[in-house]
Assembly symmetry: D2
Homo-oligomer: 303 residues x 4
């Protein structure tokens, strides 16, 4: 498939949507990004990468890193994680405390904030330095050794981090957070602050399209685990719009409030798209539209 031509065509088609919606505004570092940006990249299972638009420009990955933290936690610690976090869609805005209370401190899935905090807590226990572990993994898989934490973004998140602090303390009251909450929050915010380009992310996520194999050919996850991670992304990866994303795009995906989305075509390729303006559910407007076009034009939806 001529991915380069395809991505250029999609970029052109969704151009009228770029800038529709609103960039995340809760921290200054995100609010000042140019909403007119759009980039898209495909990395195939052989390691070739193709792109269009701002596909090599770094952006704040935010929740997209939850995919990598989860993969590491599963790889290093195994299935025990699932005793502390569920695999069901939340059916509620992503910060909601209601369901957490109803279900005794067990978050619905690893991609809502509460669940990602549990994953980071687990990774911290397993490695002693959760955020560095995620950063090292992303560097290795993307082949980009210059990836780094954006300290001012992390600091800004921390200053506005009362909701995440509330979630962490609330779960701690049920015994479902074991590291000290301030330490956990630091690692969580650092992990979210990592800046990467569409090319970096598409390359780094290839293990999900390669049935668990890392870039160097070693195994990160079993075939079954890789399949299962794709399933969780499909049902829980895009906040309270997972059903809509499955309906329109039909691929496992994970979005972040930085405007990035990573999607997986199992056995074939990964796709990363970025455009900062978000819809009401927190997903990139132009990003979702571009992925919609991608599966429509290629027929690569899993359905």
């Amino acid at each position: 498939m001529d991915y380069k031509a395809l991505l250029d065509r999609i970029a052109q088609e969704v151009a009228p949507l770029v800038g529709s919606g609103t960039p995340a505004e809760y921290i200054p570092a995100l609010a000042t990004v140019d909403p007119g940006r759009f980039g898209m990249a495909v990395a195939d299972v052989d390691g070739n990468v193709y792109g269009s638009g701002d596909w090599e420009r770094p952006f704040s990955t935010q929740s997209v890193t939850k995919v990598f933290a989860l993969a590491l936690a599963l790889s290093l610690g195994g299935d025990d994680l699932w005793e502390r976090v569920g695999r069901e869609p939340s059916g509620n805005p992503f910060n909601s405390l209601v369901q957490l209370e109803y279900e005794n401190g067990i978050p619905r899935n690893p991609f809502i904030n509460a669940g990602a905090l549990v994953v980071t807590d687990r990774l911290q226990t397993l490695t002693g330095d959760a955020s560095s572990e995620v950063l090292g993994f992303l560097r290795q898989e993307s082949g980009n050794q210059e990836l780094a934490f954006a300290q001012e973004v992390a600091a800004s998140e921390s200053e506005h981090g009362d909701r995440n602090a509330a979630l962490a303390h609330f779960m701690a009251s049920y015994g479902n957070i074991v590291n000290p909450v301030p330490v956990l929050l630091d690692h969580y915010f650092w992990q979210c602050s990592i800046e990467m380009s569409c090319a970096d992310l598409a390359l780094a996520a290839r293990f999900l399209a390669r049935h668990g194999l890392r870039a160097d050919g070693t195994r990160l996850l079993t075939r079954s685990e890789a399949k299962q991670m794709n399933a969780v992304m499909m049902t829980c990866g895009t906040y309270d719009a997972a059903g809509e994303f499955a309906y329109r795009v039909g691929l496992p995906g994970k979005s972040g409030v930085g405007g990035g989305i990573i999607a997986v075509v199992p056995g074939r390729c990964t796709v990363c798209v970025w455009s900062p303006a978000l819809d009401e559910q927190g997903n990139s407007v132009a990003g979702v539209a571009a992925l919609d076009r991608f599966t429509t034009l290629t027929g690569l939806s899993v359905f």
Copy 2:
């Protein structure tokens, strides 16, 4: 693929699980069924059908018919339906009124009871006889003209139907039910009472594997609509266990409290399994296990 041998192998493997769990007990007609039953059938896109165990024995389809009512409502009435029902997982037990109140009478998706009532209401408006329309469609697609309503089951459901009556009146208070509630409930309970075998159901659902084409080659749904229905089944088809079902099975599916589950391998085949004993979420214990084995042994998971 030698489906017959495969199904026999699976039937043997899951035999120890048959009878685990509890058959639905809220109506006598369901409570008296033998929990030791197990049947499984595959229908390929060319119309061949293979089976094992009790695959030709009729059982109460219950919520599995929601798939067919939805397909008919979309086929006859188009996308307007989505203004009255969402496409997001519910994240709550399937009868819950909470989310319905929070979201002003718009059910989360067409497969929870509230959403299915809206679909039936729409179909009733479109055809004047929703349940007969569903029955006729099932007869035609399965090729089994003997399919019929089980009147005593429908009557029993009606006697115990206060929750569904509450849901319907509640949505009516928001203007989201337009037919008289008692009429709507009758059609809803009749539709749920239809008895079919695994073979019947696998054949009848083939349009989902055939990108929208009916048994006679005419088009029921566009390619895009068929893809979208599979997406909704993937994220919403198995009550509050859709995430778990995607994680274990990795196929679009729809279950019923009669113990039946229909699953779709797009472009390839449909699979129907039946065993009456249910888990806490209302899905057949042996049925889910059998589908899990099916995708593991064949690699046919969409992920």
Copy 3:
């Protein structure tokens, strides 16, 4: 105390507020009432009645009748009622189904709609004709034999009664409604439709100020039951504004969406006020203000 002069003074003071807010609009019969009306009456324990403004003009009592239905159900059936309905404030809008689901079909208190339906259901079982029983009681206590159901109001409520039908069916699904739902709803709506003046209501409620004694000196409730009814009115009588009502007025009270409010000064008198325009919680704006002035000027708050 010169009640007549006091009521005239209060009427004058709250005149600027009369018409502030919005009359109930969900049924035509309530929406067409003149929002400029204001009446207030006091009935002392000896049976003297004083009034000001539209104090002798009948209005739709609506939820105010819940007090009388409760008194009759307790008088005829005793404490068993409290196994089917709680005595706690609801902390939620008065029609909410959420708490009802959380608490297995047991309404929080007898003054929210769900609880009043249970009371009517109990009264229907006890008497065979709940609404006539309430009407007869009101006629006898007020001394006004011309009190009657307003059939067009009841019919209008019934047409717009989907929420109450939903509540009733929902509780029936838990076994907490025993009479047929349509019969129950008829009696409920008839009971709410009774039209009375401030004078009528103040007289009829005197048993609450007289420690349980009826107008003819016979005992309706024990001293303890009368005290308890006042307590329930204090904590639950004014929808989700019971705290605010206690804070401002400091008397047991019960309001209705017709704009009427009945309040009790134990051992002393009853006060009834009416003005149709409601605040967001469904209580009469001028009515609450008038009662606030009443306790401020007289010092008759229980606190």
Copy 4:
């Protein structure tokens, strides 16, 4: 009235209930108290104090101090407080985050934990040392200069304080907590740790029975404010059992998980009772029963 004889009689009558229920167990300092204790004291408006049982033995006041913090915050800062906390019963377990989320970080009332945190936050802003202010006030009103914080209790609360930390951070995310959360929590836990006897508490609360006048005759609250505080205690003072407390006791009251309850007979006296074993709502079993007997025997219920 011969209060001494009355209290002795009540102590005798409720003796069989002393020890029924379970002392609070979430912190060691509370769990080790002898559940067989019972004390009761009355302080009349003239400053005479009467008691029975363990009425002079100090116990952990816990939430009972919320009354005094609220009185100080209102006295020093006025009505602005009510913009940050409501006056409605919560209708939910006292730690619930659900309603807080639904109502944008504004707690329902000042006696649930969330509301008390807002009150302490306000008092901290007004005085710079909220907990010392409360302690000083209690010393002065009770005349007992030896009252002190129980540091090990406060430290223990802090160690188990994740729920309160979650509440505080959650409200901070809405801008409804302005002091640093750790500082706020320290003052909150210190305030709750103060140990007092029934005699101390009954004396200290007399301003509520004296229409706002302090022990030395100066004014703490206006007559209207004192009335309003009693109203808030009536509707919100006993967790999710305020309706039940009003029904049984019929007095404004405030309970704590240390087993203490303070009640007010406006214009007449205060009553304090203590017994550590709690019912499911967190109120002292023998304590509520004793107050029930008190109003039954004296007729001093406000209803």
